[in-house]
């Protein structure tokens, strides 16, 4: 049976583990192995845990800011699609570079750029008379620094999706708009954006799912020792910290279930809302 390998793999490594995680969320773990049923204990701790509240808020902020990459990428794609535009391949390559760069390397590089005393970002700011903060260790700014890197890293991917979306828009729409006297900007808002909504929807869903899973940047750019960790820790970071650094598997499983619920609710909400604004040609 052709289905067998995929189905077996999914059952063993994904479907069964999902149920197991749900079960674990009702247990309490010992330091060197073993677990016992503890009922709703983990969930009771969860709703009173200030770290979880922070993680939910932080994850929401990161998601919201990373979504800024969507309109930016749409503009970039539209500019690259202008008739007779030159150097498209070069621009496309440069904008795409961050996507294929190891996130660990991206994190270290931006950590260096954001260094409060010797970082390039603050030096550039000082040139225009701004005394930059210690971006990553200041609780007030760290989450923005991380989100900026998220935006930087996702523009390239979005751009490629939008480029192919724009290529699918018939030229006559633009010609008609031009005859009506619409300039480039007007064409962007009245032709490109409405006809691109299916791509915009797809990119939005992907961005939200990725942002919900933010971990690498927090783990590598901030870390447990930083005074800014409470204001940057995400749900997945907390999951890793509790489950694998502090070996509290039961509690980590409860965080995992919370993450699952958040993903399901947000995705369902987006699919519901899409009817209001997405136009399938």
């Amino acid at each position: 049976m052709l289905l067998l390998p995929a189905a077996a793999g999914l059952v063993v490594f994904e479907i069964w583990p999902t149920f197991q995680t749900i079960y674990y969320s009702f247990t309490s773990w010992g330091a060197f192995g073993g677990h016992t049923w503890s009922g709703l204990e983990n969930y009771r701790t969860l709703i009173a845990d200030s770290d979880v509240v922070h993680a939910v808020i932080n994850t929401a902020i990161i998601t919201a800011i990373t979504l800024l990459a969507v309109p930016i990428s749409a503009v970039v794609a539209a500019l690259l699609s202008l008739p007779g535009m030159r150097g498209v391949t070069i621009y496309r390559t440069l904008y795409f570079l961050p996507v294929v760069t190891l996130p660990a390397a991206v994190a270290l590089t931006w950590k260096w750029l954001f260094n409060g005393d010797y970082g390039l970002v603050n030096w550039l700011l000082s040139k225009v008379g701004i005394d930059g903060p210690h971006w990553l260790s200041d609780p007030a700014t760290a989450i923005f620094a991380i989100s900026i890197v998220g935006v930087w890293g996702s523009i390239g991917y979005n751009m490629v999706i939008f480029l192919s979306g724009i290529r699918g828009i018939p030229v006559d729409y633009y010609e008609a708009a031009e005859l009506d006297g619409a300039g480039r900007v007007k064409q962007f808002f009245h032709v490109t954006v409405p006809l691109l909504t299916p791509s915009i929807f797809f990119v939005t869903v992907i961005t939200v799912i990725n942002a919900l899973q933010a971990f690498d940047l927090v783990y590598l750019m901030v870390g447990q020792q930083s005074p800014a960790i409470q204001r940057t820790e995400t749900l997945v970071y907390l999951f890793y910290q509790r489950g694998f650094a502090e070996h509290d598997g039961g509690y980590a499983a409860a965080i995992g279930v919370l993450l699952l619920l958040a993903t399901l609710i947000l995705t369902a909400a987006q699919f519901r809302l899409q009817r209001r604004w997405v136009h399938y040609g």
Partner: protein, 416 residues
């Protein structure tokens, strides 16, 4: 506790042919966390290997931040290293949790002399009357300072007469905001900051019986205040944000700060930077206001995993790690002060460019490092909470009280 050896024996018989035969080729994994000591460890291993050609040892370096996370996971899973570095902080946790093996039987049968090591270290690894580690090293502390910056500000070099007030006075003269130079650096790092000053004013982190927190004692608060004052009152130290963004040791070796409290394992790192080698020297750790020089000293030991499948070979290696020769190798590289007594002098002479003797002279004031069964449970929380005091958002007094109450909660939950 008795289960551990049994488990290991079961694991041995389970795998096809390991039975500890001396002629069989065996590879041991040895986990450590300090990159700076890799060279010394490799030399020890190569000498060990030439004596025991059938035992290969592979060093596995995991940085401190993730060492304990990974070690616990790996030991639990039975995939951990055979021999690894242990600190006083985690000794009880691993010993009572069945992560490391008691060594008394082996010590007895191979007639190892445990009296050869600094007693404070041996004692810290003797848990419920059983020895769980072969002492490796012991820590001393000193005041690292930048001679060039002292000369430029015309400040007299620090010496053994210095107390807190001398540090503050010198730091104020050395601080030069225009040049971005700070006189002192006050990181929020317990072992390298308040663990050195709290005992100097008679404070304590944990009560001697290990049952209650000392953070709510006025003397402890005073010892911590020394550090926060440097930032928030005297403005002679980089802020907590700065020391998080850039490693304080790197600030010292790049001429950004003039003074820093240093550990005896650090001179090698300082010498590795040409600027540091040329301009840094080390003075005795300044004494408390009344001349008290007590400090909390950690010391490492080499421990054997309770789940190793190569018990005999691991013991052979442990014996060599605890030998006089291994102490000599470590001392000569200047990386650490060996716990094997009588080799501190070799350490002191290892780097003529620095006065390493100050670390050795200080050893007699060493106090056992604050630890309980689950040290991490309250120690990490203290570090997290004190950030508020370091940034000036709350007073040391307030934070200390909150740390103490949480620590007492944690201590009462510990399985004794």
């Amino acid at each position: 506790m008795l289960v551990a050896p049994f488990l290991a024996a079961a694991a041995c018989s389970g795998s096809s042919d390991s039975g500890g035969g001396d002629d069989k080729q065996v590879t041991l994994t040895y986990a450590i966390w300090d990159q700076a000591q890799v060279a010394a460890m490799k030399q020890i291993i190569s000498e060990f290997h030439s004596q025991h050609p059938n035992i290969d040892v592979q060093v596995q370096v995991t940085p401190w931040e993730s060492y304990w996370t990974k070690l616990q996971t790996a030991v639990t899973a039975g995939t951990g290293p055979d021999v690894f570095w242990m600190t006083m902080v985690y000794a009880k946790y691993y010993a009572t949790g069945g992560g490391i093996a008691p060594l008394d039987d082996q010590i007895k049968s191979s007639k190892m002399d445990m009296g050869a090591y600094v007693p404070a270290v041996t004692k810290a690894y003797t848990i419920d009357g059983k020895v769980f580690g072969v002492p490796k090293d012991v820590n001393g502390f000193g005041l690292c300072y930048n001679k060039q910056l002292f000369d430029a500000a015309k400040v007299k070099y620090p010496d053994e007469s210095w107390t807190w007030s001398d540090v503050i006075a010198a730091a104020q003269k050395l601080t030069n905001p225009q040049k971005g130079v700070y006189g002192f650096v006050a990181p929020e790092a317990d072992e390298l900051s308040w663990y050195l000053t709290v005992p100097q004013v008679g404070g304590q982190i944990i009560s001697p019986d290990g049952k209650s927190s000392g953070y709510d004692q006025p003397a402890t608060v005073k010892g911590i205040q020394f550090w926060t004052d440097m930032i928030t009152k005297y403005h002679v130290s980089p802020t907590l944000q700065q020391t998080t963004d850039t490693d304080p040791l790197a600030m010292l070796t790049s001429g950004k700060v003039a003074m820093r409290y240093c550990g005896s394992w650090e001179p090698e790192e300082i010498a590795a930077v040409p600027y540091g080698k040329a301009h840094i020297d080390i003075a005795p750790l300044p004494a408390g206001p009344d001349g008290n020089r007590n400090y909390y000293s950690n010391g490492l030991a080499n421990s054997m995993s309770a789940k190793t499948q190569h018990r005999e070979q691991a013991w052979e290696f442990l014996q060599f790690l605890g030998s006089e020769r291994a102490a000599e190798i470590q001392a000569k590289t200047g990386t650490v002060i060996p716990a094997y007594e009588g080799h501190a002098e070799a350490y002191a002479k290892a780097m003529p460019e620095f006065d390493l003797q100050v670390f050795v002279d200080q050893l007699k004031y060493a106090q056992p490092f604050p630890a309980s069964t689950d040290t991490a449970a309250w120690r990490d929380d203290a570090t997290k909470q004190f950030a508020e005091a370091w940034t000036g958002k709350a007073s040391v007094d307030e934070v200390s009280r909150s740390v103490a109450s949480k620590m007492n909660d944690a201590l009462s939950k510990e399985k004794k």
